[in-house]
């Protein structure tokens, strides 16, 4: 019996020591020769999915440079940043792809990215887009779109012409929003109201409340309800109808153009501070704004490529309104705005 107990104890101790060793090793940086040929990219779900631009860009990048791309799915933009912050002392990634203008400030404060001015960036990228992500070049824009309301033309309500219109009784329970605490388009809509109404945004949200059918936790759930016909209006991207024209062969869903203007999401990519393969990371950023990579974006990412050189496909020309005015706003004030808006809605 004593022998059995001794064996049991020995195995238990080995197991615990093994686990502890495994855990402690997992944090250590390992840079091997093989790793120097690999570029590890932290990104989000839809970018690296088989319909996203990720696979094609990786294939082209590998052919052009010889580097091997490994995408790591972190969920969404906020989770990419969260993961990068948590492993700041022992970075595992080389590139972060998918941080937008709302997250750029936090990435800067968290010092998870290093400055890198991509080759040809000045030539091909509109300076307004670069400016939206900050003037210090920690992020290079690769796509963008304005936020707007998508309208179901088969509904029996008229299309609103301004944010103020949405507060009219005719739109009671006709609007699907996303929760600004958990969703990028949700935060985008809040930023839009702050940009239009300034400090009066709280009064606007008080008036808007009866019009909201639901605030979904993410874009997928909200847009899914919209396409199921639950409400005729949903917050999404100006580029969303292009997908329906291209894939569903329908122009039923229209992006609304408001004279007061729209706020814009600009997505960027940056080199991780302390990246195990910094050289490969910089090559990837350069490639991401090349014509080869940028031409992949419109029909896979359903956003507008950052490069001025790309000619948009026909579905964009027919479905995405042009000349929308872009409103400036300060992303740093949004945390307080979220608290303010949620307090009004929670009453």
């Amino acid at each position: 019996m004593k022998k059995h107990i001794a064996i049991f104890n020995l195995f238990s101790i080995l197991c615990i020591l093994g686990s502890a060793a495994f855990v402690s090793c997992s944090g250590k940086e390992r840079v091997s020769a093989e790793r120097a040929k690999e570029v590890v990219v932290y990104t989000y779900d839809s970018f690296m999915g088989e319909w996203g631009p990720g696979p094609q860009i990786a294939k082209d990048f590998e052919a052009a440079t010889g580097y091997k791309v490994t995408y790591v799915n972190c969920g969404d933009g906020a989770q990419i940043l969260s993961k990068a912050l948590l492993e700041k002392n022992a970075p595992q990634s080389d590139v972060l792809v998918g941080l937008d203008n709302n997250l750029a400030g936090k990435a800067r404060v968290g010092k998870v990215l290093v400055t890198y001015k991509a080759k040809d960036a000045e030539k091909v990228i509109n300076p307004v887009l670069s400016e939206a992500l900050g003037s210090d070049n920690i992020l290079t824009p690769f796509d963008y779109s304005q936020f707007t309301l998508i309208y179901d033309t088969k509904s029996n309500v008229p299309a609103p012409e301004s944010l103020e219109d949405l507060t009219k009784p005719v739109y009671a329970k006709k609007l699907i929003l996303m929760d600004p605490r958990t969703s990028t388009p949700g935060l985008g809509f809040l930023a839009w109201t702050v940009a239009v109404f300034g400090s009066q945004y709280t009064s606007y949200w008080t008036s808007l409340k009866p019009s909201i059918l639901t605030m979904s936790p993410g874009w997928s759930a909200g847009y899914g309800l919209f396409t199921s016909g639950e409400a005729p209006l949903v917050i999404s991207y100006m580029t969303s109808p292009a997908y329906h024209v291209y894939a569903d062969k329908t122009d039923r869903y229209k992006a609304l153009l408001f004279a007061e203007g729209h706020v814009q999401q600009v997505e960027g990519a940056g080199v991780t501070n302390g990246a195990p393969n910094g050289k490969g990371a910089r090559a990837f950023i350069d490639f991401l704004i090349s014509d080869t990579a940028q031409n992949v974006i419109p029909l896979t990412q359903w956003m507008i490529p950052a490069s001025k050189n790309v000619a948009l496909p026909d579905c964009y020309k027919t479905a995405v309104p042009e000349n929308a005015k872009t409103l400036p706003y300060n992303p740093d004030t949004l945390s307080d705005a979220v608290t303010g808006a949620m307090a009004i809605l929670g009453k």
């Binding site: 995408y71 799915n73 912050l85 948590l86 993410g218 016909g229 894939a247």
Partner: protein
Amino acid sequence: MSSKIRAAEYTAAVFAVLVFLCMCVTFLLPLGAAAVPLTGTGSGVSLDYKALLRITAYTFKIALGSTLIAAIVGISAAFFTANRSFPGRRFLLSLSAVPFCVPPLIIALGFVSVFGINGTLNTLLMKLPGLSGRPVTFLYSFTGVITAQGFYNFPLVMAVVSAAWEELPTDERDAARMLGAGDGRIFFTLTLRQLSPAVAAACIPVFLYCFFSFMIVLLFGTIGGTTLEVELFQAARTTLDFKTASALALVETVCAMTAIFVYGKLKPAYTTGGNEAHYQYERAKIGKALHESKAEKHTERIVFALSVTAVVCFFLLPLYGIFAGSTSGTDGVFVYSNIITSAGFGNAVRGTLLTAPFSAMLCVVTAFTYAWLLRLRDPEGRSTLLQTLPMLPMAVSSVVMGYGMGLVFHRGTVFLLVAAQAALVWPLAFRQIHAALSAIPQAELDSAALLSQVPLDTLFRVAVPACKKSIVSSFCFCFAVSMGDTTLPLVLSVPKFDTLALYTYRLASSYRFAASCACGTLLCVLCVVLFAAGKKNEH
């Protein structure tokens, strides 16, 4: 007995204990890490206690309401699946793990397709004369949240209670009946008491799943409403306020644990050692049981009709809604062939098959090990601490665990994912295996111990065969949970790895809602087939 078999038994026992210890380490390390930011310097927790109290109360209200609905529907359905024979009985039991394997987004879309503003019900009602507005609007309210969550989770209560009901000794019920007690009186005074451990075993996971619910609460609940999980998500993933996240994680875990311990104190101890082996009985048809009076038969038919209507309307129709949604796109039914032939689907199936069976195996081994040690140490179930301790992993939300794991493990591997899933899910297997082990009469174990050469004989020749059904059933449950998990694969960010649940979400986030519903339907079918196979094995 040959020495080879003896050696194999010892190896298995040592392996089981090792697995159990590994699971403890895998669970406790990230949990401890999640609390670390609380000790750091910097700004304080950005949530006042009044707000915290309000949010906690709302979280409890939703979880309790949903669990109550799941319990009422689950127990009434369990009565029929355990005691009566009717067409579709086995199919209904096969649906028990569906809530675990289908992502909540897809379930929500299923409910919307039936009860939504533009759902089937409203479309039908609008054809009636005299109706101007859409009459069915309950979905976007507190009632909608608890209805969706209650019905979404009732199959779990039904499956566990039904299995326990089938195992109940009939002697006491027969004696009560002979003394003149009616079925109603027998149920409330005797059967319900006998079933209470099983009801608890089923209701605690349901309560916790609803306590940590996110998607359905935000989608259908009060606009601007918030729960502890939503606040935690915001702090850990949006505002990146890790100190507040740690504080919320602590409050949430303590609340969930308190609920479990309070129940542990209130519930009657398991009765072991006195039960005679039950005998197999023929299930009567609905309203045809010999011992029932005419009035009781009549009542039974009414309750059956009501239960069937509720289950069909609030569970089967939304499931059908998912299938209908899958064929609503431009591809029609070809969406299935398109998905199955896509490269991503193959990878997702491979990833699922690489993790779910192994995670389920680890769960079963861990659960059996603890349940057996508990049976030896506390055969009458008097120690609340020992009984409720294995529920700790269930009292920790996946957001908390993901947050802690993100702090500890920087680069995930498939092995780590399997271990992490098992470390969180094994309590689900434990409740079922523990119930089965508790049902072995003490006299049987004592006799086996006396007549065996070594103590392991009792384990391998009495306990394991007696729990065969529970082992198979809990394996299926854990398989389904692992298959439906989307949090840990994302948090651990395993490179070049995909699962069916992640694939389902990815389809939805790329405008492909019909394909996403199709993938959800395939997950459902996989789960049902798995459970049907498990049930077949039992018989």
